[in-house]
Symmetry: C2
Subunit: 283 residues, 2 copies
């Protein structure tokens, strides 16, 4: 049996009881560690599960899934995923591959940022499509998600922006020389995301949003150090959100007054929040 | 402390380890039992937690939240929610009320249909706004969600349809006579939802969807009896999905071929599925 187990958002105790029982029954335990990160070390998981945990990087999951699935028709194998198992395409690939090999699969769900974002005070059914914002480089400044935000905002809907994570990245030089030396991990901050968004709007000038649009910066959702701040995009540029992971919500104009009431609690400046809502939102 | 604890989707073991530890520390444990249902009885939870569980109906949560919060500044109180705590507006009301009373609140997240729906093979970031379909009555046939589906489909996005639940409902006669006699619970099936959708399209004729539009019927997601069937709306009218809870996804035209590959596994008729995808989807 292949168990694909969601670990939730924070630490070793966010696994479900069912998930923990599954892991305990497994001969091999893999931890997917490149689409998201858990807030605790692998060693803590190993201590908690009382067994070794093999870190599965992108290369292993995408090119060598048969190694993960080896013998899984006879023994139990766990593939641990931060958040919920269906958060990233790669995991569905693994499930499809297991099916092809006739290996039974059980998925054990958990919270992910896709539903836990409700903690910011906005209702999940008022969100449009979710977007991912990637790190700009000098030569690569992709902005196709701008159109998605524009579509959502034209309907008055909120947009959840997932922020880039760079784990086990090689420098161009090391890649060219085929040296397996990796850069330190990087996690996009709310501030970086907002700066990139404002740069794109400055270039495109299609008013998908403006520096005065309300947004909510969220850090470490679902952990004890969770930090949520609402304000205009311009206000969020300078807010300190602390360590990873961060995400950002661009607030849609159809915000309900009950949502506004909740979100106001997180406002960097309640007076500016009220003014902005009064001016731009249909409440 | 008020703990608002998500129970996940299926049974008593879908609670997280952290959630179970919180419940164990509580003097009083309430179970919200009207926006969703767990697949096990209250008695099973009581046996598992080794303490009584008080069922909180809509009336109690909406009108008498201070009773739930009584003394929660001094002792621990748990409010259990099927799925994730932020799935329904009522729970955010309770959190706001606790804040007003100066009671510390800790939310313990879990899977909900809003993210577990990824099990149907579609990617969560390709979903537009979520809608709720309520039971039609002879005199009340609300269809405002039709416009939401139309908006999503104009953008090529998928639509998650949450289906109505009627728990502790009074008949009009019993309500008029103020008799606290309740009807048996009712849960909308995929079939009923599809019939209502087709009736609305028949009336509105705006082609938000047609009987040939692809959809995915989902029953008991996250449980061992999970059942998923994809097909045209017309095909789903007659499929048997078994017991509650059901939900429905209307597939957007921007479906990626990897999504189609996964969804095809659930097709009621793979040939019709392929034809429909070839004709209507941008793959």
């Amino acid at each position: 049996m292949l168990y694909v187990v969601g670990l939730g958002l924070s630490d070793e105790k966010d696994i479900t009881v069912k998930g923990l029982e599954a892991v305990t029954s497994c001969e091999r335990v893999y931890l997917e560690a490149y689409t998201s990160i858990l807030m605790v070390d692998k060693e803590k998981l190993e201590h908690y599960y009382k067994k070794p945990v093999i870190v599965a990087d992108r290369e292993m999951v995408e090119s060598d899934s048969d190694a993960i699935l080896a013998n899984a028709g006879k023994v139990n194998v766990a593939f641990l995923v931060v958040g919920d198992p269906y958060g990233a395409t790669t995991h569905t690939d693994l499930v499809i591959r297991a099916r092809e090999l006739g290996i039974p699969v059980q998925v054990i769900h958990n919270a992910s940022i896709m539903n836990a974002i409700g903690a910011c005070g906005l209702q999940l059914y008022n969100f449009g499509q979710t977007i991912s914002i990637v790190f700009f480089t000098d030569s690569w400044r992709p902005d196709s998600f701008y159109d998605r935000i524009k579509e959502n905002r034209a309907l008055g809907l909120h947009t959840l922006c997932l922020l880039d994570i760079k784990v086990k990245e090689q420098s161009i030089e090391n890649m060219a020389r085929n040296r397996k030396i990796y850069e330190p991990p990087r996690y996009m901050t709310v501030n970086q995301a907002v700066e990139q968004l404002l740069e794109i709007e400055e270039n495109r000038q299609e008013k998908a949003y403006t520096p005065e649009t309300l947004a909510i910066g969220c850090a470490r959702i679902g952990t004890v150090t969770q930090h949520i701040v609402s304000g205009t995009l311009q206000q969020l540029v300078d807010c300190d959100f602390g360590g990873p992971l961060h995400s950002l919500v661009i607030v849609g104009t159809k915000m309900h007054f009950l949502e506004a009431e909740f979100v106001k609690e997180f406002a960097v400046d309640k007076a500016v929040f009220d003014e902005t809502v009064k001016r731009d939102y249909k409440i």
